[in-house]
């Protein structure tokens, strides 16, 4: 794993991306402390990927959503005219613009924080997080800010994104469909069905960024059900695969340049689940959903958050 890039070597966009990533970690840690629990390690591993996608990689228009999210509108359907889809926070739908699909909805808080840090959502919007009647749900669904597809049942969002991408190709649109996935989703059989399909049908406007953090609910993936070597498996399935340091915005941003016509792109972003929050590094055990063991531990995280904010990026 590469060391963090020295600030003097960064270009201005990289510094901006780092600021966004740092802000994501701070906000998710803050919410986790407030709620005495949360999907914190996911934010640590994905912050740089999400920050790079939103600030450098994807072509999105300005948010169409209200700065403060509206309450839960009821389920989607033709009989619910009040319904809205969370994708409005990712800008308008247009042939030349990109689409963003968050697959593992457990990353919702990290995504909400990303929307705040990129000016698409008011910071106060996070106050609605996991509140009854709110659309800012813990495991986001289609009405949640930034979320187009309910991805809480793993492996389904990739296939739906593939359908969206195939539809866009049928219409001759030039925008890409970016999908954020977690490595655990590659244990699902459906994921491989979809990879087979997008390779065969040459759905090359599909670009998948995978947070390879090596963790799942039961623990380290190599102890639960080993996935590696992932790159070789994906290449055998016909993917164009780029393997990068998932905490380095420069290589993340550059990854799509390695695309090849006719092949879907998968960027394997190798990450750490404690990145940027030192207290997590020593915690060990279950990192899927962080609950503080006692008030003393919670206070330690409060202190670290204060230090993180004081330090800045």
């Amino acid at each position: 794993m590469a060391k963090p890039i020295a600030p003097e070597l960064m270009t201005p966009w990289q510094q901006q991306t780092q600021r966004v990533a740092h802000g994501i970690r701070c906000r998710v840690l803050d919410l986790t402390i407030q709620h005495n629990g949360g999907y914190l390690s996911q934010a640590c591993s994905s912050a740089d990927i999400l920050a790079t996608l939103y600030t450098r990689v994807m072509r999105l228009g300005p948010s169409q959503g209200p700065r403060l999210p509206r309450p839960y509108p009821g389920p989607p359907g033709a009989d619910n005219p009040a319904y809205f889809n969370g994708r409005i926070y990712n800008g308008p739908i247009a042939p030349d613009l990109d689409r963003f699909i968050l697959s593992p909805s457990h990353y919702a808080l990290a995504l909400y924080a990303t929307l705040v840090e990129t000016g698409r959502l008011a910071p106060e919007g996070l106050g609605q997080f996991n509140q009854d009647g709110s659309s800012v749900e813990m495991i986001g669904a289609e009405h949640s800010p930034g979320i187009e597809i309910a991805g809480g049942s793993f492996g389904q969002a990739l296939a739906q994104a593939a359908g969206i991408a195939a539809a866009r190709k049928l219409r001759g649109e030039t925008g890409f469909v970016y999908v954020f996935m977690s490595d655990g989703e590659f244990q699902e059989g459906q994921t491989w069905e979809t990879l087979l399909t997008v390779a065969f049908h040459k759905v090359d406007n599909l670009r998948v960024f995978v947070d390879v953090n090596g963790q799942q609910v039961d623990g380290r993936m190599d102890k639960v059900l080993n996935l590696e070597p992932l790159q070789a498996k994906l290449e055998a399935f016909g993917m164009r695969v780029v393997r990068v340091d998932g905490h380095d915005p420069a290589v993340l941003a550059e990854a799509p340049e390695h695309s090849k016509p006719g092949q879907p792109l998968v960027v394997l972003a190798y990450t750490q689940t404690f990145r940027g929050i030192e207290s997590l590094r020593d915690r060990g055990g279950n990192l899927h959903y962080i609950r503080f063991r006692d008030e003393a531990e919670r206070q330690r995280y409060r202190d670290e958050l204060r230090a993180m904010r004081a330090r800045g990026v």
């Binding site: 389920p75 033709a78 309910a150 296939a159 593939a162 359908g163 195939a166 539809a167 069905e193």
Partner: protein, 332 residues
């Protein structure tokens, strides 16, 4: 009675001609689900998905999100059993215009337990937003595409293939939510679906020769189950209600009718003919219908029980029954 072959295959090509938004997806069962003529006519609108049913359902959802209308073709079991979570979360929850053509309902295949969709209605009826239909004859197969096209949400169709009789007049199309009144009067109300309707028509020919008439409705819309015509027929049943379905009696037409009766406090006795909570095995359709009590004889026996009478129907009478031209049917 008119018998036609590959009604869906030819109808689909004709119907989809001027509908560029219509796509067909097939799970490696293209000719077996009569999608092959569409594939040959409009290759750019056909997606070969192989044996990836979970992927196929979610992929179809993605296409539907973009305004296309995917018609998914495979055997029913491979949709609702293999890919139930995908049908629920990718398709039903967002209420997308995906049309799922589930072939081989119940006894219509000799393929045995792995191929016979005996519980699809039971499994899928609990999914919000989903419309569930059953097609049985050439008229319904020809008209179902038009009938469902305006629906804004997802539809699952128990679909027939191969040789189809024409039970209903060609100019009396299937209408979503409307049962067909096949027998307007009688103290017993009979609700039938799918291939059981043809058996019921045979049985009624024999019963009517003995002066027993049934109030008979053919039900093609299993969800929503809110046809006022069905309720009216149930309320009019002085001697009880019989349901007859090519499906387990748990969760299908019989159960929906029980809910209707109870909800309206109708206090009618109900007999559910159908597969009696058991798996079938691989055998011919006539054998399975006889063996599992889905045929004309089973219905006659039930009517005899409800009327406390012996109608002395002989086997040779039953086998000699050939349905005449389409009976006078009224679409309510």
């Amino acid at each position: 009675m008119e018998i036609l072959t590959q009604v869906h295959a030819t109808n689909l090509v004709r119907w989809a001609k001027d509908k560029p938004e219509v796509l067909v997806l097939s799970g490696d069962l293209t000719a077996p689900t009569e999608a092959h003529l569409f594939r040959d006519a409009y290759p750019e609108r056909f997606f070969s998905m192989g044996l990836t049913e979970q992927n196929m359902m979610s992929f179809a959802a993605g296409l539907a999100r973009e305004g296309f209308v995917p018609l998914v073709h495979t055997f029913g079991v491979f949709m609702y059993r293999r890919a139930l979570d995908q049908i629920a979360i990718s398709i039903a929850y967002p209420s997308l215009r995906v049309r799922m053509f589930g072939f081989l309902p119940g006894v219509t295949t000799p393929g045995g337990v792995t191929h016979q969709a005996i519980d699809d209605v039971a499994v899928l009826r609990g999914l919000p937003n989903l419309t569930i239909l059953e097609c049985v004859d050439a008229t319904e197969i020809e008209s179902v595409l038009d009938a469902i096209h305006p629906l804004p949400g997802p539809v699952y169709i128990r679909m027939m293939r191969g040789e189809s009789v024409r039970l209903f007049p060609a100019d009396a199309p299937l209408r979503v939510g409307q049962a067909r009144v096949l027998g307007p009067e009688g103290d017993i109300t009979l609700l039938t679906g799918g291939v059981c309707t043809e058996e019921a028509l045979k049985a009624r020919t024999i019963l009517e020769a003995r002066g027993v008439s049934l109030r008979h409705l053919h039900v093609s819309t299993l969800k929503p189950f809110d046809d006022p015509c069905v309720l009216e027929a149930v309320l009019a049943a002085r001697r009880g209600v019989i349901t007859m379905e090519n499906h387990t009696i748990v969760g299908g037409l019989g159960s929906a009718t029980a809910e209707l009766i109870a909800t309206h406090g109708a206090a009618r006795s109900l007999c559910r003919l159908g597969i009696r909570d058991q798996f079938l095995h691989g055998a011919s359709k006539p054998y399975l219908m006889r063996e599992y009590g889905l045929d004309a004889r089973a219905l006659i026996q039930q009517v005899e029980t409800m009327l406390h009478t012996d109608l002395a129907v002989r086997d040779d009478e039953l086998s000699a029954i050939a349905l005449g031209p389409s009976p006078a049917t009224a679409v309510a």
